[in-house]
């Protein structure tokens, strides 16, 4: 397939604009669709409506009905047909309206998308992205605040990325779309519009599999990602002067950047992990296991798991108590420090 007429996805080619995270997602989609005609978007209400969070706003007008497709209301149909599209020359980016609605497509993702390359010994591949807004904190109805990334991290053959900034959102999404393997791309909807950041108009990628140190520190390392990066940074500044906190944004959960985790853990000897999903068998457990496999002898305190509780996500009146708050993060960092 040929590359479409190059045409800037935004007004400032070569320059940069201050975008929110969700705008950066949209910008990333547009940029990749311009670069490569085989990239298409499909999902519920992604067309005229531009997605319930407007992440696909305007794409229909620019790229037409063939490449921006409103589907029937059926997630297994969306992901299953995306697999078929991916194995036959397209690069589908499927939107699942909220992460809590990805489960009907779970079978297609774990039994097929994840395995096509391995089962066919590389003969067939599945270059597709499944995007979904995830996480709590926006007073959403039931089932709209899921954060179950661990399910996907546990499945070999999938990759999982979670941006925490507009810049990373565009760059990681571009990397996910260009990746030859299926990527689950989780967007922290709590911070979809929380802040703006300069984002280059030209396409670029942020490599999958590389964590980012958001704040250097020498006393305690905190590993986190997505929407939890913010309260973690707040906690780190609150503790400033008292405890010198390093904050590592994992960005990609699968493959996990074990090297950066190990380095940071060795440097500080005291670590914590923060995420909103439930604690048991969550992403935090994998980070703990990584730290102790790679850096046990440096460990001066147990890895603190600061996570959602092991309860179904409650209705929103008390969701703030469920989600790790800055003060809860501080409390546990202090515990790690004082252990």
């Amino acid at each position: 397939m040929s590359t479409g007429t190059p045409q800037a996805s935004r007004d400032s080619p070569g320059g940069e604009d201050d975008l929110t995270l969700v705008e950066a997602v949209r910008d990333g989609l547009a940029a990749e669709m311009l670069r490569d005609d085989s990239v298409m978007v499909l999902g519920e209400d992604v067309g005229d409506n531009g997605g319930v969070f407007r992440a696909t706003d305007g794409l229909l007008d620019t790229f037409g009905e063939e490449r921006v497709v409103d589907t029937p209301l059926a997630e297994s149909g969306i992901v299953g047909s995306a697999i078929g599209l991916a194995t036959h020359g397209m690069r589908p980016v499927a939107e699942i309206q909220f992460m809590g609605f990805v489960y009907p497509a779970f079978d297609q993702l774990v039994s097929h998308a994840a395995r096509l390359r391995a089962r066919s010994q590389g003969q067939y591949t599945c270059p597709m992205v499944v995007r979904a807004p995830y996480g709590g904190g926006i007073d959403a109805p039931e089932h709209h605040s899921e954060s179950t990334e661990a399910f996907f991290v546990h499945q070999p053959g999938l990759k999982v990325a979670v941006p925490s900034t507009p810049y990373d959102a565009k760059g990681l999404l571009a990397a996910a779309i260009r990746d030859p393997d299926p990527v689950v791309f989780l967007e922290p909807k709590k911070i979809y519009r929380a802040f703006r950041q300069p984002v280059p108009a030209d396409p670029y990628t942020v490599d999958l599999g590389e964590a980012a140190v958001r704040r250097q520190g020498s006393d305690v390392s905190v590993f986190t990602y997505g929407a939890m990066t913010k309260p973690t940074m707040v906690a780190a500044s609150e503790l400033d002067g008292d405890i010198d906190v390093e904050v590592v944004d994992l960005r990609t959960l699968s493959p996990l950047d074990r090297e950066t985790i190990a380095e940071s853990a060795k440097k500080t000897g005291r670590t914590a992990v923060v995420h909103e999903g439930p604690k048991t068998a969550g992403m935090g457990a994998e980070v703990v296991a990584t730290v102790q496999e790679e850096a046990l002898v440096y460990q001066e305190a147990p890895v603190e798991r600061i996570t959602g509780f092991d309860v179904p996500f409650p209705l929103h009146a008390v969701e703030d108590y469920y989600l790790p708050a800055a003060v809860r993060i501080e409390d546990r960092i202090r515990r790690a420090y004082e252990f």
């Binding site: 997630e75 149909g77 609605f101 309860v311 008390v318």
Partner: protein, 387 residues
Amino acid sequence: MATDRHPRDASIGGPRRDHPDDGCIVQLLDEDGHLRQEGEPPSIPEDELLELYEGMRFARRFDERALSLQRQGRIATYAPMRGQEAAQVASARALADDDWIYPTYRDNAAKIVHGLDPADILAALRGHQSGYAVPDGVNVMPEYIPIATQIPQATGGAWAETLQDPERDPDTAYLCYFGDGATSEGDFHEGLNFAGVFDVPAVFFCNNNQWSISTPVERQTRSGTLAGKARAYGLEGIRVDGMDPLAVYEVTRRAVSKAKDPAADELRPTMIEAVQYRYGAHTSSDDPSRYRDGVDEEWADKDPIPRLATYLRDRELIDDEYEADLDDRIDAEIDAAVDRMEAVETDPAEMFDHVYAERTPELADQRAELERLRAEYGDEALAGDGQ
């Protein structure tokens, strides 16, 4: 049953036709509120007619109030039902108290008619889990948000009814609501297929409001009608004017009675497609101007409330005074519900209460941790605006 089956005319809407009887839609009351066949009045008692009317009027007002509560930030996302009152109220009124309903987020009028306290509905919308704790004796499941998932569950509930005393006909039916969009999900297919195979006393009530958020039903499927899908399961599918309360009432009663006591050659389950229109936004977060230009006149003309009002006025069952009094009663009832809603509180520690019948040691630890944090830092710090 005094129904008037007539070939679908374009004004009734719905996707393209392909089955021989797809064109049929049951309608008793025409768009001006007159019986389609004068001389054959439906066998609905007068007090029931008034209940239908009051239920619909309550629903409309509830909807308005809920939207305004939402705008004031006193409740969160709300899914309005304007235009859909007849389908909800008349179907729910066609049930016996012991019958069960499996509602969605949009079926608030049905829930209220079947016994749920409007204050509970509002409390859940305000984020309080206790709003989902349906009181004893009210046979309503907590609303279903993941689309179509209630369908196999309703089949299972209805099936339990037949298993508990296989010797006799069940005296309880299960009415399962879902939208047009839901018919595309695998759970619709599996749930209806099980219902047919196990011949369970269920009524599958599709509120085809023409939209699944921004997606019109024509893009949902190439099926001639949604009711026609019932045949893939060997079931009877029936289309009814969902904005005609009398027709909905009659069709649902017949389906419920068949569920409990079918004729020898009949299966118990029925799928009803109630053809209607969502006048409002999908939810308070939705902006329909992005995907449609207002409400077509043909649909606006079908508004169920003026239709039934005309019918009742023609029969001198209601008048201006009645209407004014009804307004007052409804407002008072909703005011009281809003007050009760605002009195509801949730202790954050409650989230650990009903995960399992018995709290696990791990959950006891996590609960203690939350309580310690609250004691140490205070609720404001943990869950205040700084979050």
